[in-house]
Each structure stands twice: as C-alpha cells, then as structure tokens.
C-alpha cells in the first residue's frame, strides 16, 4: 500500500512543480526569457490569497472590515481574485522591469539578470513590509481524510491534482487551438516579423504574463492550503526546482512543463521512499542531470541555435 500512497504524494507535490513550471515555460516560449522572478510571483500569490482569506472570514491578521463570510464562500471569492491580482503583479513586473529593456533592445542576458533582481526585490520587499514572522493560512475547507484500502487521501490532495490537470488542458488548448495561441507561437519564431503581420506584440506578451502569473497565483492558493505556513522565501527554492522541471521537460513546451513537474515530484518522493531521505536532492538532481545529458533540449524540446 505504501507504493500507492507515495504515488499520490508524488502527484500532489508534482502538481505544484507543474503549475509553476507552466509559468516559466509560457514566458520562455514567447519571449525566450527565463523569468526568474516567477517563483517569487508564486509567493506573492500565496500572500495575496492569505490576506484575502483572513479579511473575508474576519480572522485576525488581515484588514478588519467586519466581514464574516463562511469559509466556503471565502474560498470561492479568494481563488479568482487572487488569480487576477497575481496576474496584475506579473504584468506590472513586465511593464516596469522587462519592457523598458526590451524597448532599448538590450541583450536577453540583461533581462534575465533583471528578472533575478526583481525576484530578490519581491522577497525582500515582503520581508521589509510584513516582517519575518510567518503567517498561517486559515482552513478554508474542512479536511476530510478518506482511507481507501490503507491509502490516505485528503480532499485537498484530490483538488490540487485535478486543478493541475485542468490548467494544463486549458493552456494546451489556448496555445495550440486559439488565435492568441497562434500569435504566441508566432512570436517565439520571430518577434520582428510578427508585428509586421499586424499582430500587437505587446498585447500578446501581456496575455502571456497574465496566464503565467495567474497560474502562479492559483498554485499559491493551493500551496498555502496544503502547507499553510507562509514566509517571504517560500517561493525561492520551489521556483528553482520548478524551473529545472521545466527545463527537463523541454522549456517552451507546455507538455514539457507538466511532464517535467510530475517527473520531479515522482523522483523526489521515489528517492525518499527507497533510499535514506538524506540523499533526496542529490539523487533527484543526478537523475535529472542524466536526462539532460541524454536529451540536452529536454524531453519535449527542439534543438535551437541560441539559448541562454
């Protein structure tokens, strides 16, 4: 039974990697830019969700506006509002940090460094604003533990896994079946020729950031509900790992992000299940290294001449 339990654990943790990796891959697919601030956008999403949730249910720690809605209603409001607000954070970042550099025709390397700095600004800005004290995310759904033949399943785990798969299907549909998706793919081929065809480059880029950051916001809520302790640096490590997952899957390809995310989840949990847990990261990343060694462009990636 242990093996089924671990598969479930891996699916849950892999879902978070996948949701965050999707954001990396979308932005990279369109702009050829590694948005290193993405992990921290995820963190901001979790904090936005926290403040919305405590304000709505009237718990201490939020803005006291005298609201006392039931947790279920609070969750129904928190999810879309958090996604919208986090998307706004992503767009603002693009507007203030990346677009000016792109306009000036800066080399992509400088934009990547800017992204790293933007991530640090978000982390330390949060630290300065809210202090180092951790926040505890309130319980918005009543936890139910089902025991199916020795395998413990919580309702939250199911929600997380289903959400990751729905998001993947939705993004895959947008990118491969819609006009906006076609424009996104077009930009990734040639961002100089596309505007000549009458496609508004900046609008498409904004849409990309909205999608990527919105998913980070969703990941933030789900993560905060599963691991309800928030701190300013929570996005850094998981962001890095999700980035690696995106690269292993083949950065720029949505299927790659989801496969890479779940793969990393399975490897991490699998290593702990078989070997002493001390060796987890060592083994997990050695395996990923071997995959990249065999397929340098990732599982779904296509070879390209210029990359960062």
């Amino acid at each position: 039974m242990e093996i089924f339990q671990n598969i479930l654990n891996a699916l849950q943790f892999g879902s978070f990697y996948a949701l965050i990796a999707l954001g990396y891959t979308l932005v990279y697919g369109v702009l050829r830019l590694i948005n290193f601030a993405h992990g921290d956008i995820f963190m901001v999403g979790a904090y936005i969700a926290y403040f919305l949730a405590v304000t709505l249910i009237g718990a201490t720690g939020g803005f006291n506006v005298g609201l006392h809605v039931s947790p279920a209603v609070a969750l129904a409001i928190t999810v879309p509002v958090t996604m919208i607000l986090t998307a706004l954070v992503g767009v603002t970042l693009e507007r203030t940090a990346y677009r000016p550099l792109r306009r000036k025709g800066a080399n992509r390397l400088y934009v990547v460094i800017t992204a790293l700095m933007a991530g640090l600004v978000l982390e330390n800005g949060n630290l300065a604003l809210l202090g180092a004290t951790r926040k505890r995310f309130p319980d918005l759904i009543d936890k139910v533990v089902w025991n199916i033949g020795g395998v413990a399943v919580t309702n939250l785990k199911v929600v997380v896994i289903v959400a990751a798969i729905i998001v993947f299907a939705m993004l895959q549909f947008i990118v491969t079946r819609t006009k906006i998706g076609m424009a996104m793919r077009g930009i990734s081929y040639d961002k100089f020729a596309i505007p000549l065809m009458g496609i508004p480059l900046d609008t498409i880029i904004v849409v990309t950031f909205v999608l990527g950051s919105g998913m980070a916001g969703l990941a933030g809520i789900l993560f905060a509900m599963s691991y309800p302790i928030l701190e300013p640096y929570m996005g850094a490590l998981i962001g890095w790992k999700a980035f690696i997952a995106a690269v292993v899957g083949g950065i720029g390809d949505i299927r790659g992000a989801i496969v890479g995310g779940f793969l990393l989840g399975f490897i991490e949990i699998g290593v702990v299940a078989v070997f002493p847990s001390t060796l987890r990261d060592l083994f997990a990343f050695s395996v990923l290294l071997i995959i990249l060694w065999l397929r340098p462009t990732g599982l779904f990636g296509v070879a390209e001449t210029t990359k960062i």
């Binding site: 849950q12 004290t133 691991y227 949990i269 847990s277």
Partner: protein
C-alpha cells in the same frame, strides 16, 4: 556622463568606508557594551524577537536604577543587537562584527545550535565570552573555555524524552523525523535513537527519516514512518517545521501521539500549528503555566509589556544576560582595555558555581554547561503549555 557616474560611485564608496571607520569609535567610559547575536529574521524570527524583548526589559530595569553597579560605580548598559538571519555563516559574521566593530565585552546568543556552534568557535578564537541561552548541542561549548550556556544539554534532554514517552504512551517502538542540516535536530535525533534502542532493544526505532531546512513537503518520509506503525513519533525540529510535519502526518492517517523537544516551545507554535498540535508533549526548559516566585513575576511583567506569555527563549535570555552581568559585577572593576576586560569576565564566569535563574537553579562544575532540571509539558486545548513532569539530573 561616464565621468559623473564614476565620481558618484567613488563618493558612495568613500561614504561606505567612512561608515566602517566611524563604527569602531565612540567608546564611552561610563557604559558597558554587551552584544546580542540573535535570529531576528530568517527561519525562526520569533526566537530572536523573544530574546531581544527579554534583554530590553532587563536593560530598562537596570538603567532606570542608574545602571549596573561594578566596584561601587554605576555604569549604564548598552545592548547591541546583530541579526544572524538564523544562518550559520551570518552568525559568524555577526559575532565578528560585535567583537571587532562594536567592541562589546561579552556576547549573548545565538540561540539555536545551528548558529551557536559556529559562532562559538569564532568567539572562542577571538577570546570573547559567549553565553548561549538556548543551544543544547554538546559541540557548542565543547573544548571552548570562552563559551557558556544557560540551558541543559541534549545528552540530558534525549533520555528525558525517551523515559517520559515510554511511560506516558506505554510505547515499545518509536519513529524519528529530523532536520539533517540543523546541528541541534540531528544531534538530538541521534541521542534519542541511541537511548531508545538501549532501553527497548535493537530495531525498536522503526523509522528514522530526515529532511532539509527549507522543505515543506514531508509526505514521503511520513508515509514510510506511518507504514512502520510506531507507537509515537519523536520530532526534534523547529516549531515552524513541527506545524507542517504534524499536519501532514495527520493527513496521511496517523492518529498516534508526538513527542517534541525544546525547539517546539515558541510562543508562535500554536498560531502556526493550530488544532493539530493539541494534546502533544514536549520537553522544555520551563513551564509558564503555574510558575511561581521570580519566574511568575518575570512572566507577568513580560506579558503586560509585550502582550504574550514569554516562551523559554525569553526566560533563558533573561538568565543568560543576568549571568553575564553577574560576572561583570564579580570582576569588581571595569578595565579600560576591552581585551583585558573580556579576559576578566571569562575568569569571573568560570568561577560562578551556582546561579539562581528564573528557569531553575544552575550548577556549573568547571565547564560551561550547567546542570539543571528539564520539564515536560503538554499542549492544552487552549494552546497553553501545561506542566506534566519535572526531571532533574541525579
């Protein structure tokens, strides 16, 4: 354009250097400077905050009476707080800064062993007294004549936990989950495993799993532990991780008890952990609920001033700082030269045989480690740490 940029850079650099030069000056002969190397940000900010609060309270007490009396003359106290970000390397830097730039006569902290062990090496090399309030790892003071502590050791805490759990839960088997990158957690886990197997026989620790400091998901480790069906799980971890571990174990269908160590005892544990932690036990330095005498007075004053019941770190910082001040008073005079003063304080520290702290009586037998009692508390439904048992060294 380029020239101005260079000029501006130069000015900024010059200002920066100037600030360094100035930082070392300004020693006033009527003040005594004590340094604090605390976890003000990072993983366990509440620990650093509690320490600082306790120290500030003590400083105000003494300074409002005109200062600390040494050899018939009153000196004002100046406490310098440095943040070590709850990181080992930053703790070393903070200690060096306190010693070299701020010119303090002695240092209190760091609290957690992860920071205290490396910082203690630095202080010992720089010949400055360091007293850690909360670090229970043996390596902190081992072969370091300049380092002292105000708490018991893990070698004492480990058996307290095993004996209590064996009796309270009627347990035959145990499982351990600990933080591999934290000296404290790792050390205590090893001692516990050794003690338990000595008591119950080989193979009775059915799960022995580790994790990293920044981990948030423990499901794989806990799945292994839950599958081994231990009678209880021992979690010598920091309170922030405890909250996640206990919750995730419950998510995996574990219904048995947990036994914790003194790193649980933060005022923030219950805000983070909530109802999952109710009813669990842990060993600690003092129990706030039901305290008497000087301890109660301290708790009440702290509570009125900072609006929460002080945790063990606050109480131990109070004791550790008082130990340092006692040593300064025992020297009998304040030396002009800071190095001579530090040496005099170390000798005075080493000569303290017994000290009556608010966390209990401490007896020093020639080393920096006191012999003192531990208590085991249970978390009540209201989130209070209720006294269960007191265990004293023989």
């Amino acid at each position: 354009m380029k020239k101005t940029t260079v000029k501006i850079l130069f000015v900024v650099l010059a200002l920066g250097l100037g600030a360094f030069a100035l930082a070392g000056c300004g020693k006033d002969s009527n003040t005594i400077k004590v340094g604090f190397n605390l976890e003000l940000t990072g993983d366990i900010p509440k620990v650093g905050e509690a320490s600082k609060f306790a120290a500030e309270m003590l400083k105000e007490d003494i300074n409002s009476k005109g200062g600390l009396e040494v050899g018939g003359k009153k000196y004002k106290l100046e406490f310098v707080y440095q943040d070590n970000e709850a990181k080992a390397e930053s703790a070393v830097n903070a200690a060096l800064k306190l010693i070299n730039q701020d010119g303090v006569v002695a240092i209190v902290g760091p609290n957690s062993s992860k920071q205290a062990v490396p910082a203690a090496a630095t202080c010992n090399d720089a010949q400055t007294v360091m007293v850690t309030p909360w670090s229970t790892n043996v390596d902190t003071t081992k072969d370091r004549p300049w380092v002292f502590r105000a708490c018991f050791l893990d070698a004492f805490q480990g058996p307290v936990a095993t004996n209590f759990a064996a009796k309270q839960f009627g347990a035959k088997t145990a499982a351990v989950i600990f933080d591999i990158s934290n000296d404290y957690s790792k050390g205590l886990a090893e001692i516990f495993k050794q003690e338990w197997e000595k008591k119950m026989g080989a193979g009775t620790v059915v799960g022995y799993e580790s994790h990293g400091t920044k981990d948030q998901d423990f499901s794989a480790q806990l799945t292994k532990i839950v599958a081994a069906k231990p009678d209880f799980i021992f979690v010598p971890d920091n309170y922030n991780q405890v909250a996640l571990i206990v919750k995730q174990a419950h998510d995996l269908g574990y219904k048995g008890p947990f036994m914790g160590s003194d790193a649980w005892g933060s005022a923030e544990l219950m805000t983070l952990c909530g109802k999952d932690c109710i009813g669990q036990f842990f060993s600690t330095h003092y129990a706030a609920a039901g305290a008497q005498g000087a301890t109660k007075e301290f708790i009440d004053r702290f509570n009125t001033k900072y609006k929460y019941v002080p945790d063990d770190v606050a109480a131990l910082t109070w004791d550790a700082t008082r130990l340092v001040l006692q040593a300064i008073q025992n020297v009998g005079k304040v030396e002009k030269d800071v190095k001579t003063e530090r040496k005099a304080i170390r000798d005075a520290m080493a000569n303290i045989k017994e000290f009556d702290g608010i966390t209990g009586k401490m007896k020093f037998a020639g080393t920096g480690d006191p012999a003192k009692c531990a208590v085991v508390v249970q978390i009540s439904p209201e989130g209070k740490f209720v006294f269960k048992q007191s265990v004293c060294p023989e």
